[in-house]
């Protein structure tokens, strides 16, 4: 499996607090990689540096041979990185279909067009994407009235609209019921397989993490503790210690 994303020596501090220090990991094409860790471990910071929302102090983020560290989110998106947000960031005053159409309009550089009717542009393409996500019957609902789980699916539909090489998902199942979680992650796994997309995600639901990631990056206090398969991570003494606390002796 060839490498799609190579993160090397990533670091970021906020007002003297080192949120992320020297984080390195890599991600292969079509791989699903999870980042886990307790609160304040630096997962989100790491994640947002890959997406461009936070500018790293140091380190490189190489996507397909090009360093994207410090680039604006919109440039990173144009290089084939889609993402979802933990607190869904959708256009509440638009329909589900229009949300996806926005991404397509942007992809085709049509956002400054003054005369065509936006609701008709790329409508079929958007509908096809919604079909795959299982939102076909919600396409003309306003995002503002959608159930929470559906909103998460809209996030996903928007994120994959321009067929990215890499999909970033920040806590994709937060706030969902167990059955919704399973369904969403299964769907993601299917799409990833068909489209040969790679996925990098943070997640606090361990069932989801262990069921759906090929490898796991465990972080604590801004640094990578270990990287490994679910089985390896589960048996790692340091990981146990992080999650259950106490002294190191107690964990060993």
């Amino acid at each position: 499996m060839s490498v799609l994303l190579e993160v090397n020596g990533l670091a970021k501090s906020f007002g003297g607090v080192q949120a992320v220090r020297d984080v390195s990991f890599s991600l292969g094409r079509s791989e699903m990689l999870a980042i886990i860790g307790p609160n304040g471990a630096g997962k989100s910071t790491c994640f947002n540096m890959v997406g461009g929302q936070i500018r790293p102090d140091r380190g490189t983020i190489v996507l397909d041979g090009q360093d994207i560290a410090g680039k604006a989110p919109r440039d990173i998106w144009r290089r084939g990185v889609g993402r979802t947000f933990q607190i869904s960031a959708t256009f509440m005053s638009m329909t589900v279909c229009e949300n996806v159409q926005m991404a397509l309009m942007s992809h085709h550089w049509r956002t400054r067009a003054l005369l065509p009717l936006a609701s008709r542009l790329y409508a079929e393409e958007a509908a096809a994407i919604l079909d795959r996500i299982g939102l076909a019957d919600r396409r003309s609902h306003m995002c503002g009235v959608l159930a929470y789980g559906d909103l998460k699916r809209v996030e996903l539909a928007v994120a994959i609209a321009h067929r990215p090489k890499l999909l970033l998902m920040d806590e994709p199942t937060a706030g969902m019921s167990p059955s919704e979680r399973e369904a969403l992650m299964q769907l993601t796994a299917d799409i990833v397989r068909q489209e040969e997309m790679a996925v990098l995600f943070t997640e606090h639901d361990m069932d989801v993490v262990f069921a759906h990631s090929a490898r796991i990056v465990v972080m604590n206090r801004g640094a990578v503790v270990t990287v490994g398969t679910p089985a390896e991570v589960r048996e790692n003494a340091e990981v146990k210690h992080i999650y259950l606390g106490g002294t190191l002796e107690a964990a060993h």
Partner: protein, 632 residues
């Protein structure tokens, strides 16, 4: 200039700075805890001057000239403080969670009410202040005579600053105020009753403005223009100093006081421009002012605004009827009504273009008059100074307004929320003062007159159709753009800038273009207004016009497409029919604004729509307006 003159000028500047600081410190204190930008603060200053004028005589004759004057000033301050309490308890307390636009308009309503109340109580004539016993003379500084009262004023600012500092840092009340300024909710969690705290802060803030007004009275007669002048200066000071920062207010007061004192020597006609230019530069370098902090919550105003197309067939019917009436109006209506209708069409376009950037673009502009006025002046100057044809003049209007809006837009979209609104106001005021002070070019106070359409187009009916056609085209274009990819992108940027950035959209760039487009449309309206009225004057660029445009949107319904059109027309006719009946138009308007803000924040169309769903968006959907919800 020699040293003595220099020192004298500096002292004069510092005396003014003192007065400015008193007002600005109250404004910034109130903003700190309540996050409300209080336009009525200048009114409190004016009331202070009038209150002092009222109680001065009786108190001095009762208590004698030694302490009487000072007690009179204090009594005025307390009285104004109590008025501040009334305003807070009855009005602003209900708006703490409302969008900025509603808060600003509500305080603007107070401004209007106070203006007419002052006229009703004290009349139009200014009241000249006394020379305070004991401070009548002058001292000689470097060979120049300097009034004692000015010297006294010079010290008042630092004294009040010291007093405020002690109050904020050495009392429990001050500690609570500072805590609430940092984190209201945490103070709440710790058992601090915010409502009570806010009321006391409003008392102090208003009392400071009242004191400043009282102390200003011996320097400047009490008059009905004090409020606007002072509020603008106070805004500039608080924005430069950083909203919420007392120290910043002091620093900025000194800067502005000196700038005015010396600016008048360097650029005798452009002190206002200088002041606003300094503000713009400071905000470019330090977005939150000299000593300000980033605003904690970035409130997305009107976040869930819907701009769905008219959905119901009744709406189509209503349109057809409205259009038919517009088309046949000149055939039966008297000239006066046709002229009024022409004006209504013009203002409908102003409100419509403003609402395009406010509701669709999420850019709260308090300076839309700038582009309306620019268009008007461009047309008038083109005809009068350059002998341009009317067609060319009407073309120059949107072109100039659009170009300036493009430049201004580039500046302002780098800021958000209330700072953005303040910047738009600042730019409008710069233009206003240019129009006022650059007499050779703009005709100054008198403006430019005698600009009429030639030949057939000068007839009332013909001009009506001409206006209807061109303003109609502008409305139709913007309407279409709202539903084009560009309009959708603006809404997308307003709904979630985060998401836009994550799908490759540069929100600011679109906002700048939208701002230019709206400015250009307002320019069209301005051009037609010039020929309707036969001339221009600086009032077209004033804050009143900017506020009127926002009120029109609010009246018609901010969150609907047709609302601003209905509001613009309704406002124009209401004003025309109410003004002759009463001298208190401002009082009426102020009350209307407050009723709208408190009871009908959705406006006429929004109200009808909520009941019928005629104008788009089915009733069954989630509550249309974040506005209404936030108020509840």
């Amino acid at each position: 200039m020699d040293l003595s003159f220099f020192v004298n000028q500096a002292l004069t500047g510092l005396a003014s700075a003192s007065s400015l600081f008193l007002v600005a410190s109250g404004l910034t204190l109130i903003f700190g805890v309540s996050r409300i930008v209080n336009f009525a603060h200048g009114s409190m200053f004016m009331l202070g001057a009038y209150a002092a004028a009222t109680v001065y005589g009786p108190i001095v004759s009762a208590l004698g000239p030694a302490i009487g004057p000072w007690l009179a000033m204090l009594a005025a301050a307390v009285a104004v403080g109590l008025i501040g309490v009334v305003v807070e308890v009855l009005l602003l307390r209900r708006l703490y969670h409302a969008p900025h636009m509603l808060q600003i308009l509500a305080t603007f309503g107070i401004v209007l009410i106070v203006q007419d109340a002052v006229v009703l109580i004290w009349g139009y004539d200014q009241i000249v202040g006394p020379r305070i016993p004991g401070l009548r003379g002058a001292v000689t500084i470097f060979g120049q005579r300097f009034p004692q009262y000015e010297l006294f004023m010079l010290f008042i600012g630092p004294v009040v600053f010291a007093g405020l500092w002690l109050l904020l840092h050495r009392t429990r009340w001050g500690t609570l105020v500072r805590a609430a300024t940092r984190d209201r909710e945490m103070a709440d969690i710790l058992g601090v009753d915010q409502a009570k705290l806010f009321t006391t802060v409003f008392f102090l803030g208003a009392a400071l403005a009242g004191l400043a007004g009282g102390l200003q009275w011996p320097r400047e007669p009490a008059n009905i223009y004090l409020d606007t002048r002072v509020i603008l200066e106070a805004f500039v000071v608080t924005v430069i100093g950083g909203l919420g920062s007392i120290g910043g207010a002091l620093l900025a007061s000194i800067i502005i006081g000196l700038l005015q004192a010396f600016g008048i020597l360097l650029f005798p006609k452009s002190t206002l421009v200088l002041v606003f230019a300094v503000m713009a530069v400071v905000l470019m370098v330090r977005p939150w002012g000299l000593l300000g902090r980033p605003e904690p919550q970035a409130v997305s105003d009107l976040a869930e605004t819907k701009t769905a197309p008219p959905a119901h067939r009744y709406a189509a019917h209503a349109f057809a009827v409205a259009l038919a009436i517009l088309l046949v109006l000149p055939l039966f209506a008297p000239d006066y009504v046709v002229k009024l209708a022409t004006q209504a069409i013009i203002f409908a376009l102003v409100a419509f273009s403003l609402n395009f950037i406010v509701a669709t673009g999420g850019i709260l502009s308090f300076g839309h008059a700038a582009f309306f006025g620019l268009g008007a002046y461009a047309a008038a100057i083109a005809v009068k100074s350059h002998g341009a044809s009317t067609g060319l003049a009407l073309l120059a209007a949107p072109v100039l307004a659009g170009l300036v809006a493009l430049g201004v837009g580039w500046f302002i979209v780098r800021r958000t929320g209330i700072y953005l609104a303040m910047l738009t106001l600042a730019f409008a005021q710069i233009l206003w003062s240019v129009a006022f002070q650059w007499v050779e070019f703009t005709g100054g106070d008198n403006g430019i007159v005698g600009v009429y359409m030639p030949g057939w187009a000068s007839q009332t009916g013909a001009y009506y159709y001409l206006t209807l056609a061109f303003c109609g085209i502008a409305v139709a274009l913007i309407w279409r753009i709202m539903f084009a990819p560009f309009g959708y992108t603006l809404r997308a940027g307003r709904d979630s800038a985060l998401r836009c950035d994550a799908i490759g959209i540069d929100v600011r760039r679109h906002q700048v273009l939208a701002f230019a487009l709206a400015g250009s449309a307002a320019g069209v309206a301005g051009g037609f207004f010039t020929f309707l009225k036969g001339g221009v004057d600086p009032s077209l660029l004033s804050m009143d016009i900017s506020a009127d445009a926002l009120i029109m949107s609010l009246l018609g319904g901010v969150q609907t497409v047709v609302g601003p059109l209905v509001g613009g027309a309704a406002f124009t006719f209401l004003k025309a029919y109410i003004m002759p009946v009463t001298d208190q138009w401002r009082l009426v308007l102020g009350i209307v604004i407050i009723v709208l803000v408190l009871a009908f924040p959705r406006g006429i169309v929004g109200f009808i729509n909520a009941r019928s769903g005629w104008f788009g968006g089915a009733k069954s959907e989630a509550p249309v307006a974040s506005t209404g919800e936030k108020l509840a």
